[in-house]
Symmetry: C2
DNA sequence: AATAAATGTACAATATATTGAACGTTAAGC
DNA sequence: GCTTAACGTTCAATATATTGTACATTTATT
């Protein structure tokens, strides 16, 4: 019943940074929290949690908010995103569709 | 009652890419979906949605899964993340704590 | 080709995020 | 220094994500 999750330090750091980047972006653009929340179609409460770096909010919403204030996910523009996406599709076709656990890693024990 | 959100193309692209990066990372490490889900403390169903690029999953969970398979958020290591975080804190202290909407943007209409 | 495990996907039950309201606090601009 | 809007934060109600189960499909290996 209790879900209670734990997050690694890297994850918490990343969440914190993304939240701060959003806050900086918003402030630099002179938008109030309410304005940004409205544009993103969320409540000010949720935006508050996002800027605070909370782990709960939906990833899609967080990305959307980031985009709205000019924070670039993956540090690249739209066109480059498309390219990456296409390249990943290629890469995926080269990998096995399903993983057989017997693989004992690349770096085998000796 | 109906929440019904919309996401920009950039957001959808980013979600799709992140999902694929996770899938690639998992496959390259020879982990089954169930294994990764267990390590992340989530169900295989949720992992499935994450790899599919669905917008709904919690951002913290998505980041955690990404970290587990070696996908670096912001393309940097732990130490660099900390530095970025600290620098952002500085930057935040320089910005106004609250935004007054009358700011009419940096590029004013002359 | 046979086979067993991984994956894709749907669904009802349940845990949790989201929301709007509320209210005290802080700070921008006069 | 006043004023008042923005911000921080809590909370109950509600919408939605999560989970476990289940089953069909695909796929790696013998």
């Amino acid at each position: 019943m209790a879900r209670k999750r734990s997050y690694s330090r890297v994850t918490r750091q990343a969440l914190s940074i993304l939240g701060k980047l959003i806050r900086v972006g918003r402030t630099e653009r002179g938008m109030t929290a309410q304005e940004l929340a409205d544009r993103a179609g969320i409540s000010r409460t949720t935006l508050y949690n996002i800027e605070k770096g909370a782990p709960g909010p939906e990833v899609g919403v967080v990305f959307e908010v980031a985009t709205l204030v000019g924070v670039r996910l993956f540090q690249v523009d739209d066109r480059t995103l498309q390219m990456h996406n296409a390249r990943l599709d290629e890469k995926l076709t080269l990998l096995p569709q399903s993983v057989r656990p017997a693989r004992r890693e690349v770096d085998d024990e000796f």
